[in-house]
């Protein structure tokens, strides 16, 4: 890695030593990866989404592979917010920016998760996972209805002084409208995109590949959609953006930053190689060296037209 390049960046006031974070749901609670990488070499990690109570998730099978991607229906299995604070947070390395992801089925419960995380030692910021089905709205995701999303962000904003990123659902007509809603309700930043609703069928058995029928598509298959949405959101709001969606290489990171992302999250690729985040960081370094980029921040929004 070239020592000459300044890799530091900032995501809604959280200083990052480099722009590569690991995405929620793809790095566990961090410790699972410690045998493979030094977590402190990453920009940060976004831990698995937390609910008030532990959740055991869907019965198997939960995942299926599709071209350049996978569909999952894990259903947000997690240890619960209290166990996270008591058992998971204290064993993470000091100095690692840890983003806690909050998720629930009701707005007041989301707010309660945020309140519990408020001031928890070691939490750099909260990322709201807005892709949960909202029972009261007939099962659509919180992030799919501007009014529901507004109410969610408002309630969580009131519940915490922590920096609040909202992770947007891509399953919408206008991602820009959703971004504006979050900005209007006081979010500090946006993460995008979450998994794309998808489905696969086993034609031999004539059954859905997953018993849950629908699942979330992730991996390089969604990268061009994610990039388009980051680009559109950059035009719509001033909030800092964390780009997510099939990022597999340093060049992918550059593309998201050029379109306006201040940092990125690596997700599904960590499944293919637990060191993926650091490999991508090194590729980003090589890009910067090749193009005479002195500080990686110069790339943010620097798309030539």
């Amino acid at each position: 890695m070239s020592a000459a390049v300044d890799f530091s960046t900032d995501l809604c006031g959280v200083a990052l030593r480099n722009p590569i974070l690991l995405a929620s749901g793809t790095c566990g609670y961090g410790t699972e990866l410690e045998g493979f990488i030094n977590l402190n070499e990453l920009g940060g990690i976004v831990c698995k989404s937390l609910t008030l109570e532990p959740r055991s998730g869907n019965p198997p099978p939960r995942i299926t592979e599709v071209p350049a991607g996978m569909i999952n229906a894990i259903s947000l299995e997690n240890v619960g917010v209290e166990a996270f604070i008591k058992e998971k947070l204290p064993v993470l390395p000091k100095g690692l920016p840890v983003f806690a992801s909050a998720f629930e089925t009701e707005i007041d419960r989301y707010a309660e998760v945020c309140a519990r995380l408020d001031g928890a030692p070691g939490v750099a910021a909260i990322e709201l996972n807005a892709s949960c089905p909202h029972v009261k709205s007939g099962g659509i995701e919180f992030g799919q209805d501007p009014q529901v999303l507004a109410a969610l962000v408002r309630a969580c904003r009131a519940a915490t002084d922590a920096k609040l990123l909202v992770k947007l659902s891509p399953n919408v007509t206008s991602i820009a409208e959703m971004a504006r809603v979050c900005e209007g309700e006081g979010a500090d930043g946006l993460s995008l995109i979450n998994a794309v609703q998808a489905m696969a069928v086993n034609v031999e058995t004539r059954r859905p590949a997953l018993p849950n029928v629908l699942g979330g598509l992730s991996g390089p298959a969604i990268r061009p959609i994610a990039l388009r949405m980051v680009y559109q959101v950059r035009q719509a709001v001033d909030l800092p953006i964390c780009g997510i969606g099939g990022i597999a290489t340093g060049e992918d990171t550059v593309a998201f930053m050029l379109c306006g992302a201040s940092a990125v999250q690596v997700g599904t690729m960590t499944y293919t190689n637990p060191e993926a985040g650091l490999v991508i960081r090194d590729q980003l370094a090589a890009y910067c060296a090749r193009h005479g980029v002195a500080a990686v921040r110069e790339l943010i929004g620097a798309l030539e037209k």
Binding site: G35, P59, R62, G219, P220, T270, T272, P274, E275
Partner: protein, 250 residues
């Protein structure tokens, strides 16, 4: 947790429709029954097929590892086509593997599940009896290797083309002092567990599941047990059969 596990950029020595041999520099060694995740395209610029494939180590000698499979989909088809010298990602050793024997042990293997058992038989030839099964002669992988070990060996095939005509479980007659270790198709493992349980034998099963990461982060590979969902990758792949919820497990 397998703290010795590493992600290694390996090289294909040879590959074909029945299996693959790879050179994995820095491989830390493994126990019989452990597995690796094989990444077909370690260059992330071309990430398709995307996910690594979990494979039991059939046989290892230092940093040279052999895996046996049958072509069942895109992943195994691509593995079979890899030419010598190709790059391949090797993540491992993963999972718990089988425990050392505590007396007489019967190994029961069906189809590609046989691949999980060979090294155990090799390591403990005086403690094991082996029963292998498949649809026909061609499904009994590693037959020569097992015969070379000189361990007691019984075989059943559906079509009678090798050994007895019938199921491996027809040949399984344990007593309460035997341990029974099983790897194969779900119905076979379930039937073997039933026989072992009726005989008062301890029964361990090595499970297979759709798996994206192999290290406990994707949570894709759960199996239902009396302790709730457990991960085949980090809690297994070897499970005590009496803890598995056979009605709802996979």
């Amino acid at each position: 947790m397998s703290s010795a596990a590493k992600h290694i950029l390996g090289r294909v020595i040879e590959s074909g429709p029945l299996g693959i041999r790879v050179q994995a520099p820095g491989w830390a060694g493994h126990r019989p029954g452990q597995f690796a995740m094989l990444t077909l395209n370690p260059d992330p610029h071309y990430p398709d097929p995307l996910l690594p494939r979990p494979m039991a180590v059939y046989r290892g000698k230092g940093e040279e590892l052999e895996f046996r499979f049958k072509i069942v989909g895109r992943g195994t088809a691509r593995l079979a086509e890899l030419v010598p010298g190709s790059s391949i990602g090797v993540l491992g050793p993963l999972g718990n593997g089988f425990p050392d024997p505590s007396g007489s042990t019967i190994l029961v293997g069906g189809g590609t599940g046989i691949a999980s058992l060979y090294e155990y038989a090799k390591a403990h030839p005086d403690d094991v009896r082996v029963i292998l099964g498949g649809r026909s002669h061609a499904d009994i992988l590693g037959l020569d290797d097992f015969q070379t070990l000189g361990v007691p060996l019984a075989i059943a095939t559906d079509d009678g083309s090798l050994g007895e005509r019938g199921l491996v479980t027809d040949l399984l007659k344990p007593d309460s002092n035997d341990s029974v270790f099983v790897c194969g198709p779900w119905p076979m493992m379930r039937a073997a567990y039933q026989i072992a349980s009726d005989a008062g034998s301890r029964c361990l099963v090595s499970l297979e599941a759709h798996m994206a990461c192999g290290i406990g982060i994707c949570l894709g590979c759960v199996v239902a047990t009396d302790q709730g969902f457990r991960y085949v990758c980090t809690h297994g792949p070897v499970f005590d059969a009496e803890r598995v919820d056979w009605e709802h497990a996979l």
